[in-house]
Amino acid sequence: MTKLFPFLLLLTLPLFSRAEGVDAILTKVLTKLNSVKDYKVSATIKANIPMIKILPNEATIYFKQKDKFKVESKGITIMPKQGFTDINNFLAKKDYIAVINDTVTVGGVKTYLMSVIPNSAGGEMILAKLWIDPERSVIMKSQITTKSNGTVTTTYTYGDQVKYGLPSKMVFEIDVKKFKLPKSVASDINKSSAEKKKKIGNKGTITITLTDYQINKGLSDSIFK
């Protein structure tokens, strides 16, 4: 056994070093995100979701640490329920186990694919998969699975605000299998059952283009009331 020990240690060494690497990478990402105390940004929201027809709309998004978030729009806009502040809050708690699964190229950028699993089962989050660009310390893609909202995959594109870890474009892919219309309200006597049962897709996308960031200007709490 004593003869085998150095050999076993040699085998497990990459795992230890990788584990250290995971924490360092995530800490850098979090530090970058935490450098933003607040922001205000103009958003163009384009939703392409089966069962929902909506034209692209303009909105203003407000964020303030730690989790204050508000969308202001003249018309009706649709946003994903999760994806903006969830990752920041989840990583900030540091109550997780993270492992690097693979190296994947996302949008021409080499990323580490990480699985982040919460330590406690009491929270909303079940699993987060993050594709992180280690060079710029930003999340290029995320896949968050929660108990009540299913899985949402988000792809990020970065522009001028990459130094703050803030994207210029976000594409959310949403699971629409859960959408059900209330029968009493949605009944349409003019449509036959065959017409009503026509097949719809399972995935929808919401594309949010973010421009004109105003970062760390000191947003008032009253905006979020």
Binding site: K74, G75, I76, K81, S148, L181, P182, V185, I200
Partner: protein, 280 residues
């Protein structure tokens, strides 16, 4: 002579208390809906969007006057035919019951023009009901709740229409809703030509509407061939203006069928009234 007699018929409608019953009931119903929306509108809206809100959030001024106008129109279009039939079902049969039809027939106007004048007066009353409903639903609601985009739920899902694209849809929708109610008016006038008292045509009109609506809502293939020809199938055509894209061919077909119903029903009423042996 036709216009003069139409005016006389309209005055007769205005002089009957039951004509104001419909307007009063409509005002009360719309008032109740607006009050309910003001008190608990958000929970009513979330009943519709609950399934979507597990994954998505809806931002913006959802509970606005346009949405409430749409809800009012959708809720009341089922009940307004009764209020219309209450007045138009009485137009010929009521005269027979009161014994004034003989005097009417002695006037220097053809029997065809008598029926046409009653039809036009009934149409004017129906138009007034629709305008009153539109005023309360649209103007009072927007005055209280403001304007905004409209969320419409149909069997295909949610359609969110921008505020700037809504008013013309209401205008067109009210026009088709008027045509639907005019068909009810024509049906009750037609039935009225066969009856000697006003209760019969009113009850018969509502019975026909209920029967056709049930046939239309039954998802049984045996009725599929007759459904497109039932006027009740096309009474909800106003709703098509709130789809995206607007199904123009479906609306055109509905308008043709509703107009055809009106022509046939008034023609039957004219033939029947011309052959009627007036003895009372």
């Amino acid at each position: 002579m036709l216009l003069k007699n139409t005016w006389n018929e309209f005055i007769k409608i205005l002089s009957k208390p039951r004509s104001y019953l419909g307007v009063g009931a409509l005002t009360l119903l719309i008032g109740i809906i607006i009050f309910a929306m003001k008190a608990d509108g958000k929970s009513i809206i979330s009943f519709v969007t609950a399934s979507f809100e597990q994954t998505l959030t809806f931002n913006g001024h959802i509970l606005n006057g346009y949405l409430i106008a749409f809800i009012i129109l959708q809720m009341l279009i089922v009940h307004v035919p009764l209020l219309v039939a209450l007045v138009t079902g009485d137009l010929i049969a009521g005269e027979a019951a009161m014994g004034t039809i003989r005097m009417l027939a002695t006037k220097p106007i053809s029997r065809t023009n008598i029926v046409l004048s009653k039809f036009i007066a009934g149409a004017a009353y129906t138009l007034f009901i629709i305008i009153w409903m539109g005023f309360l639903a649209l103007f009072v609601s927007t005055a209280l709740f403001g304007t905004g985009d409209v969320i419409v739920l149909n069997s295909d899902g949610l359609v969110i229409l921008p505020e700037a694209d809504v008013l013309w849809r209401f205008g067109a929708g009210f026009c088709v809703a008027f045509l639907s109610l005019l068909t009810v008016s024509s049906l009750s006038i037609c039935l009225s030509a066969f009856a000697e008292n006003s209760i019969g045509p009113i009850v018969a009109t509502m019975s026909v509407i209920i029967l056709f609506t049930i046939i239309g809502s039954l998802d049984v293939s045996v009725f599929d061939s007759i459904k497109p020809y039932l006027f009740t199938t096309h009474m909800v055509s106003w709703r098509s203006f709130f789809e995206d894209p607007v199904p123009w061919s479906t609306i055109r077909q509905s308008v043709i069928i509703l107009v055809a119903h009106n022509v046939v029903l008034v023609a039957i009423a004219i033939i029947r009234f011309n052959k009627k042996d007036i003895t009372s």
